[in-house]
Amino acid sequence: MRVRRLVFGNIVVVCLLCVCMPLHAEVTGECSNCHTMHNSQGGQPMAYHLVNGQPVASSTPNPMLLVCDCIGCHTSDGTNTIVNGVPIVYNMVSPNKPLAGGNFYYVINNGNNRGHNVFGISGPDPNLGNTPPGGTSMSSQLRCAGKYGCHGDRTIVNQFLAMKGAHHTHDVVLDGSTVGKSYRFLKGVLGKEEPHWEHDATSSVHNEYQGATDFSTSTSISSLCAQCHGNFHSSTGVGDNSPWFRHPTDIILPNKGEYQHYNDDTLDYSLIAPVARLDPNSVADPSKVVPGQDVVMCLSCHRAHGSPYYKMLRWDYTNYDLDKALSGCSVCHTNKQ
């Protein structure tokens, strides 16, 4: 067992994490790595949670007797983004290899418009408050999971109840039937999970996202975003054909015009501006994009958690060098660079 010490000022929190590199999204290891039976060891509380990005020991037990809340486990004070098998989504120092969703580090360090402002990591977004653009105001700040979050069952307010069972689900086949059997515990969403959350992604090693050809299919990754940003993914908000009112998603990348030359005509899957697939589990060649078949999605341009760039984009769209600023758009819009 490895013991990891997090030292913050005079608060000493011992979070015991010893998770063998899990193969699928199912936790293994001793219960006490993650759960604390009485929230007490040597008179010190075992449970902690994060307040504005900093861990605070707490004598109030966490739900499900967990040693910490979601962020507590998924945070690191180092630069690594997989620590003892835990995917880290918030590094307190600049992450060396941000995972597929990006990292919440940038919201704290690069600015509020670099990502989702999740309770526990940062305060509410000073510009947007709790209103998702394209959607309606939420009565509470964003959480990881539950009604005010993205993960878990979004009909349940409590984050842990919303995630109940997920970490212990053996999810070899993702069918969206439960949280555990959904892509990255996003209930109802499908896809194919890269086992290391794109830690070492290449054009052939990466997640496969679920795409769709309409706005009503609820299994697509873009429809997840649309649960809050509804107007950006609907017939009335986006239109059904060119000329589009907003940038389309869940439409097929056309096999004509500039789109057929995706990624400088290499058709290589681009990690800067990737596509979703209609059937993530039967992708003939993951390293290739097939115009006429693959799908534009929110994550073609955005990261889900946070990125170093404006509006959590996947590339530096505000760079003063236009070549760089437009480098993501021109992966698909090959005539416009």
Binding site: P133, F232, S242, P243, R246, N319, D321, A325, S330, N335
Partner: protein, 385 residues
């Protein structure tokens, strides 16, 4: 020499490797990025004078976001101008009417959304003819002329979008129905700043694309300019004459059309013998224009000498004229989009009376008029004389 000996001789001379390397590097250089577009070489994508919408400070000049809004929302609110989410993700509707057009939201002398508030685009007669006496200052003005002036009717152009058209060689083409009519001649993602005339390193800066081939600049390459006809003579620059000859379109000595896009090909993508083009203004179909036919226009490519020429044109010569030698592309205070200056002289044609026509034909290019009847009765487009 046998090929093997050829290589051997090189190898022996020690230049072989060098030559091969040179060849390879030329090949690599010349092939370039195959599908690179031309946006960053366009006027809109230029980082010194390209698009920059007032109030959009986070994006540098030339950036897509000055015209396109991904979600019609930045920081939770639509950036000015507030028009809701509209087609092509533009910040305001693409095309509404002759005078309400997305392009005019910036291409207007004052009150536009381009930082600084205005863009000056003067008439052809001013920019490429040198006429500083009578001209429009911006595109909205140019398209706003009503009788006795004239403007290219955007709604009539709009009507041909989405239909099957033929170029002057009878080849089919068609543009999307939903396009802005301005885009029929100017693909906004590639067209360049063409004024002042810049013709360097074999490339002419050009602001036009052909309706029949919207993804390629027209006039930028050699072979796409008026000199290709071999008998083009540039008209005089405004106020210039035999004593001090300067020529269109640059006001310099170049007079063979090598610095002028082949506007004949551009205009005849629509205006030819195959397409019927309705004119709302005239309430009739336009006369067919047959610039390439032996039985077509006298000012076109066919044989036949000029009658009673004024300089710089000479006797016993045939000339192929550019449409822009006589016409404004956008609008004019004259009828029929006729320029306010032709061949160096100020020209006023406010109606179709004989006197107006004489002013035009005799005033500009021909030094003799026979007073039989109204010029126009016998001389007009698609006439051999």
């Amino acid at each position: 020499m046998h090929i093997r000996e050829f290589f051997k001789s090189y190898r022996e001379s020690g230049k072989f490797i060098f030559k091969i390397m040179l060849l390879v590097s030329i090949f690599v250089w010349a092939s370039g990025p195959i599908y690179a577009g031309n946006y960053l070489n366009s006027a809109h994508g230029n980082s010194n004078y390209g698009v920059k919408r007032t109030g959009i400070s986070q994006y540098p000049r030339g950036h897509c976001a000055h015209c396109h809004e991904q979600h019609a929302s930045i920081n939770g609110a639509e950036p000015v101008p507030i028009n809701g989410a509209v087609g092509y993700l533009l910040f305001s509707p693409n095309y509404t009417s002759q005078t309400v057009n997305f392009c005019f939201d910036c291409h207007v002398q004052t009150g536009g959304y381009q930082e600084g508030g205005g863009i000056i685009n003067r008439s052809y007669s001013y920019n490429f003819g040198g006429n500083t006496d009578s001209y429009d200052n911006d595109l909205k003005q140019a398209f706003s002329h009503t009788a006795p002036g004239s403007s290219h009717n955007l709604n009539d152009i709009k009507k041909i979008l989405g239909t099957t058209m033929y170029d002057a060689n009878g080849h089919e083409w068609s543009l999307p129905k939903t396009l802005n009519p301005c885009d029929a001649c100017h693909n906004p993602h590639i067209v360049q700043r063409n004024y002042p005339v810049s013709n360097a390193d074999g490339k002419l800066k050009t602001a036009v694309t052909r309706p029949s081939n919207p993804n390629q600049l027209w006039g930028d390459d050699e072979g796409e300019r008026m000199n290709r006809y071999g008998d083009y003579q540039a008209p005089y620059w405004y106020g210039s004459d035999t004593d001090d000859p300067k020529f269109e379109p640059a006001g310099d000595e170049v007079q063979d059309g090598s610095n002028l896009p082949d506007f004949v090909r551009l205009c005849t993508d629509c205006h030819n013998g195959y397409n019927q083009i309705w004119s709302s203004r005239l309430g009739r179909y336009l006369l067919p224009i047959k610039w390439f036919s032996n039985n077509g226009d006298i000012h076109g490519v066919k044989r036949g000498f000029i009658k009673r020429p004024r300089p710089p044109y000479s006797y016993q010569q045939h000339y192929t004229l550019s449409c822009t030698d006589c016409h404004e592309p956008h609008g004019s205070s004259n009828i029929f989009l006729l320029r306010t200056s032709i061949n160096g002289k100020s020209i006023s044609v406010s109606n179709t009376d004989d006197e107006s026509w004489r002013n035009f034909c005799y005033g500009a290019c021909h030094n003799y008029k026979h007073n039989k009847r109204n010029c126009f009765e016998c001389h007009h487009h698609n006439k051999k004389f």
